[in-house]
Amino acid sequence: MRRAQLIALLALGTVATFLLSLMAGKVWIAPWGLAAGTPEALVMAELRLPRALLGLVIGAMLGASGAVLQGYLRNPLADAGVLGVSANAAFGAVLALFLGLSATPLLVAAFGMGGAVAAMALLALLAGRSASATGFVLAGVVLSSLAAALTALLISLAPNPFALEEIVTWLMGALTDRGWPQLWVVTPFAALGLGLLMLTGRALDALALGEAAARSLGVDLRATRWLVIAGTGLGVGAAVSVTGVVGFVGLIVPHLLRPFAGERPSALILPSALGGAILLLLADSLVRLSPGAGELKLGIAMALLGAPFFLWLLWRKRELIP
């Protein structure tokens, strides 16, 4: 399949899943022909539309960050979730909630980005020491566990049951009850993060030949490292601070697209952004349709889907991993 065709197809899929996300729910609402002032129009304008837009922005960010992290670390198992970047962003955001800053989404996002940047910087330092694929995944496990422990510590110290419930519900990862204010916070940072990640394409291609060859091809590894840290940190940090941890999007999407887009890392970034948006919008529409009074949390649904996929990847690639 030609690249232009693939991107057109993915763009079409993004529009389709976006429409689905507007329509799907306990009540199906067609997004056209709504009379102003009706409850349906209100639900559409204040709930469905911002939620679908959030799904679009965050899915694109998570998908692109997965493609870039895999290219940068030359490791098909890399992903913001697997490597603990999301968990550290979550810890940052929980710290903000713990400190009673939940009324200011911008501050929660700033704390989330701080956690993500710190985790990315640690991983990039390890990357500079050319650790093996296994080393990275292990480092990610350590970073995740540390973040989980610190988060649990904050939960156990929560000042009152309301703060506790707020933190726990948020941690499960969802787009539920997020609206325009969250969208305005996350979009600029996600756009900036995506932009920075897009700049890394050529360096990622050269890194396919190893660091020495990449440097000989004129790649500035230090600049590339900072682009990856800043792009992932800002984008994933902001996304997690709004939705909680929604894992595995960045892991699954590049894998599904490689057979069609080819393995060149730069050729995967834009398709993975579109693919991430499709996956998240689709998953979020499906959790809204889940039976029962409440709804399945998006983060839990993605983990239930993503963890077996990760295991399957490990199984299939076991002879490739040193």
Partner: protein
């Protein structure tokens, strides 16, 4: 494009690896760096590629210190083929060869006609044109080595550095590769190879550099450097050196 090294010293992790090495590499010539394991050959090549900073001494390309040269310009002038044949993604052969043109492309530009022509020339020269659409990780070791060679040729560098480019090649493809380096030199490039195969070095080189323990033991044409005395000093092994009418200089360890 003349590369001049003067008084180069370099240490790694506090251990001196190169000590006061000086040499010049002229356009149109093939030079080979020889020496036992750990003599500092790869480190010297890295320094010549501008990838490793020196403790003392300079590396100059046509009089300009490599350390002062912008990355992009250095990358356009110097082609560097590291040892080991590292490839991380299952790229198609033509995609991998095209990576050699990265320093020639504008910031957000695609491949130009000149890029495509250079890629096609390099693939034909390295005898990999027939593999263009094959995934790299499915190739044999020798095929992959030739594809990586095509990658560095595609950049059409003025200084071509290759670290053990003959590893993994069968005798025919090794001879072909040496011819390829000769052709690059005839086209005006300065070619510098690190080799372990003394026989290949004798055959390919206009100039030999024999390194031992970080310093330059001998420098000159093959007949001057490949002598039993110098080889014994460098490798700690008794060597037989014979002039043969058909094979040229024959160098082999003595059977004890």
């Amino acid at each position: 494009m003349t590369l001049e090294i003067s008084g180069l010293s370099l240490s790694r992790g506090g251990r001196p690896v190169l000590r006061d090495v000086s040499a010049a590499f002229a356009p149109g010539s093939v030079s080979v760096i020889l020496g036992p394991n750990g003599a500092g050959k790869s480190t010297l090549l890295d320094a010549m590629a501008g990838l490793r900073a020196a403790d003392a001494g300079t590396v100059r390309l046509n009089g300009v210190a490599l350390a002062d040269m912008p990355h992009r310009e250095r990358a356009r002038r110097i082609g560097y083929l590291p040892q080991g044949g590292e490839v991380h993604w299952n790229l198609r052969v033509h995609e991998l060869v095209a990576l050699g043109r990265l320093p020639h492309r504008g910031a957000f530009a695609g491949e130009s006609g000149a890029d495509r022509a250079a890629i096609a020339r390099a693939m034909a020269a390295a005898d990999v044109a027939a593999l263009a659409d094959r995934p790299v990780l499915a190739l044999s070791g020798g095929e992959r080595a030739r594809v990586l060679l095509a990658r560095v040729l595609a950049g059409e560098p003025e200084l071509l550095l290759a670290d053990e480019p003959l590893a993994n090649l069968d005798p025919r493809h090794a001879v072909d590769a040496l011819r390829l380096f000769r052709r690059a030199a005839d086209a005006g490039a300065a070619v510098v190879l690190v080799l372990h195969d003394l026989q290949a070095a004798a055959r390919a080189a206009d100039q030999l550099l024999l390194l031992a323990d970080g310093h330059c033991l001998a420098q000159g044409d093959p007949a001057e450097v490949l002598t039993p005395a110098l080889l014994a000093e460098a490798y700690g092994l008794e060597m037989l050196v014979r002039q043969d009418a058909e094979a040229g200089l024959i160098v082999a360890p003595k059977v004890v």
